[in-house]
């Protein structure tokens, strides 16, 4: 083969492929209002959302919504940059806790009109605490679709074996510290001659989330009232100490090898704390019996961490697109019972009050924590805070630092970030 033939062949090949790609890219017909909807639901939750979008598109022939999923880890970066380049989506999801940072970039629109006028979604249908998360001054910059609290998952067979049954003989979850510790010990199994257990009662999952779920129970916080970094307060130290002691006393798999969620679904771990959204992964399993419920009272009172997926609209849309976007948001919110099936708690009280929702064991049990849940702090430095907590929990649970020292170091680092923020933007920690 002569080089000319090779080059020519490659060129022809590229042209053909390029044509196929280009033609393949065209979605939907003409004369439709096309909306792009971005989110980070890359797991089974995304499958459920796709189904809802298909139904919306069928019921609304003049609109075509297409969904784009990006893993949460890179999602916010991609979203922000795309919006700043004027090529971002009309519709997108932002976690309630991330709104302050994203709002600063100026592409999230006020959607107060969703809550008033014809076809309005009544404000009273939301818990005030949840609605507060989207309020910035007079603006409401999104509609909370769901609430996803952290809660306790248990393996039914292992709970029964450990003697955790109610009056009717059904498995039940431990509800306080004493029961929790008893359950952990009762479920551990160590084969003869082995040093480490092969089955565990409890394993930590994501250390940061586990920690932040305990913090409100111990009345801890992350920022002081005047907006300074304050991670090493007594509540946080107590919460982290509880976790570090579990590791130190070998009541959980060694810190180097947390079995976590995978261990739970492999039936090597009896209980885990994780978000309600993980239910979707359990629904894929055929031979696993599980129940969900509130996090046991480890600290002073019942509480947990939660967050919400907030539906947002881009600023500066044409009236048609704006109308279609709001129609879509209303549709999702009104049909949030379908969303709940995938492992979510709807934000609307009216949807939570339906018998259909009450029949969803895990979702309903997790939703009972709503009155005592706490969201991460409303701060523009949440990403940096997350990183510092990741680092501090790791140091403490691995036993390389005391909880106090780890949290003190994190406070110093976070304060540096806050100082920089205040100097450069004057926005302070809380908007």
């Amino acid at each position: 083969m002569s080089p000319k033939a090779v080059f020519g062949g490659m060129l022809a090949f590229c042209v053909i492929l390029g044509t196929i790609r280009a033609n393949d890219t065209v979605i939907g017909g003409r004369k439709k209002t096309e909306l792009s909807f971005w989110n980070g639901w890359t797991g089974p939750d995304g499958t459920a959302m796709l189904k809802m979008i298909r139904e919306f598109n069928t019921e609304n022939p003049d609109v075509e919504v297409s969904m784009q999923r990006i893993e949460w880890a890179t999602y916010y970066n991609k979203l922000m940059v795309a919006e700043l380049n004027q090529r971002g989506p009309e519709l997108f999801v932002i976690h309630a806790s991330t709104l302050p940072r994203m709002r600063r970039a100026g592409f999230v629109s006020d959607v107060s009109d969703l809550y008033s006028g014809a076809g309005a979604i009544r404000e009273s249908d939301f818990d005030p605490y949840v609605l507060d998360q989207v309020k910035f001054g007079k603006e409401k910059i999104g509609l909370p679709l769901d609430i996803h609290p952290q809660g306790l998952y248990g393996n039914v067979d292992m709970l029964k074996e450990a003697g955790f049954v109610d009056a009717r003989g059904n498995a039940r979850l431990p509800v306080n510290r004493e029961e929790f510790m008893r359950a952990i010990r009762a479920m551990m199994k160590t084969p003869k001659g082995d040093a480490t257990p092969s089955v565990w009662g409890y394993s930590m999952t994501m250390w940061r989330n586990n920690f932040m779920s305990l913090v409100p129970q111990f009345d801890g916080h992350y920022l002081s009232k005047d907006g300074r970094a304050d991670l090493a307060n007594p509540g946080n130290i107590a919460a982290l100490t509880f976790m570090a002691d579990l590791a130190k006393n070998k009541l959980v798999p060694p810190p180097e090898n947390q079995l976590g969620w995978v261990g739970y679904r492999q039936k090597k771990v009896g209980m885990v704390v994780d978000g309600v959204y993980m239910l979707g992964d359990l629904l894929r399993l055929e031979d696993m019996k599980y129940i969900g419920g509130p996090i046991p009272i480890i600290g002073n009172h019942a509480a947990t961490m939660a967050d919400s997926h907030v539906l947002c609209v881009k600023t500066g849309l044409s009236p048609e697109k704006r109308e279609a976007s709001e129609r879509f948001i209303r549709y999702l919110s009104a049909h949030s019972i379908d969303w709940a099936k995938a492992g979510q708690v709807p934000a609307r009280k009216s949807v939570r009050d339906t018998p259909e929702f009450r029949a969803m064991q895990v979702q309903y049990a997790f939703s009972k924590q709503i009155p005592t849940m706490e969201y991460p702090p409303r701060s523009t430095v949440l990403f940096e805070l997350d990183f510092e907590i990741d680092h501090a929990t790791e140091m403490a649970i691995r036993g390389d630092e005391t909880p106090t020292a780890a949290l003190k170091a994190a406070t110093v680092n976070l304060q540096k970030v806050l100082d920089r923020e205040n100097k450069d933007y004057g926005t302070g920690a809380t908007p």
Binding site: P3, M10, L11, R21, D24, T25, L50, R87
Partner: protein
């Protein structure tokens, strides 16, 4: 005694080769196991062979458009290779044969720039691509890749060793410069161009940071980032993620087997001329 030593050497090296091969074989076998067998590595060879994982991966088109990723990867890698070969060979010819003024200095600058780590360019190129509105298009992955200096450097080294007399004869026969380049010089540089092409193709096929940063739409991902996305959401199911891994690797292994002789032979003969 000598034969024994020789057999030992051959055996030892063959064993090493098989050790290097074994993870790939294991990957293929495991992707053909049902999920219940995957985490139980009692036997490397599946007890129940199944293509279920592959069916699932390929049938998941709406959420993880695997065929589309494959198409993107082939398109991006082929286009990149074509452009790199064209630009580099023309530039090398201009520098070594057409004696462009300052060509030698330029070659020196190119080689110097090769020392600079790519990360330094990441943010500026990103901003540049966004100004050009090329982000999230294949151009973002194809065009910047043509700036690399390795091709020009390598082909320049090779072209110097092509006897000038052949060219002169062609010029006397009335060939244009382009004609000489396409009909005389390029064929003579065949092995070097093929090596460069293969390296470029593999590099582009396996690029991870570029598509991670420059592409947003899942449909426009190339295979490495697509596979990583798939793994992030299905990390609990090794069988499925390994099936994506196998599917992402097979095309390249085919290319390798087709051009095996070229790859290894010319890699040995051209990379080290100086």
């Amino acid at each position: 005694m000598k034969r024994l030593a020789e057999g030992l050497k051959n055996g030892l090296m063959t064993f090493l080769g098989l050790v290097f091969l074994s993870p790939i074989v294991l990957m293929v076998f495991t992707s053909m196991k049902p999920e219940s067998e995957v985490l139980n590595p009692e036997s490397a060879i599946p007890k129940h062979w199944t293509l279920g994982n592959f069916q699932h991966v390929l049938g998941w088109s709406e959420e993880a458009p695997f065929v589309r990723w494959l198409l993107n990867s082939v398109f991006v890698s082929t286009s990149t290779t074509l452009l790199v070969l064209t630009f580099s060979s023309m530039a090398a010819y201009a520098i070594t044969r057409l004696k462009v003024p300052g060509g030698g200095v330029f070659l020196g600058i190119i080689v110097g720039a090769m020392m600079i780590p790519g990360q330094l360019f990441l943010v500026p190129v990103y901003l540049l691509l966004s100004k050009l509105h090329w982000l999230d298009t294949p151009a973002a992955l194809i065009v910047p890749a043509t700036a690399g200096g390795f091709g020009v450097f390598m082909l320049s080294q090779f072209m110097r060793s092509v006897p000038e007399s052949l060219e002169e004869a062609a010029i006397l026969d009335g060939c244009t410069t382009l004609g000489v380049f396409a009909n005389v010089v390029l064929p003579l540089c065949g092995p070097a161009v093929a090596t460069l092409g293969i390296f470029t193709f593999i590099g582009s096929w396996n690029d991870f940071l570029g598509p991670l940063v420059f592409m947003d739409s899942v449909r426009d991902y190339t295979l490495p980032v697509g596979i990583a996305l798939y793994q992030a959401s299905y990390y609990t199911q090794y069988g499925l993620t390994l099936a994506t891994a196998v599917l992402g690797t097979v095309p390249l292994i085919i290319v390798f087997l087709l051009f095996q002789r070229y790859i290894v032979e010319s890699m040995s003969s051209t990379g080290l001329k100086d």
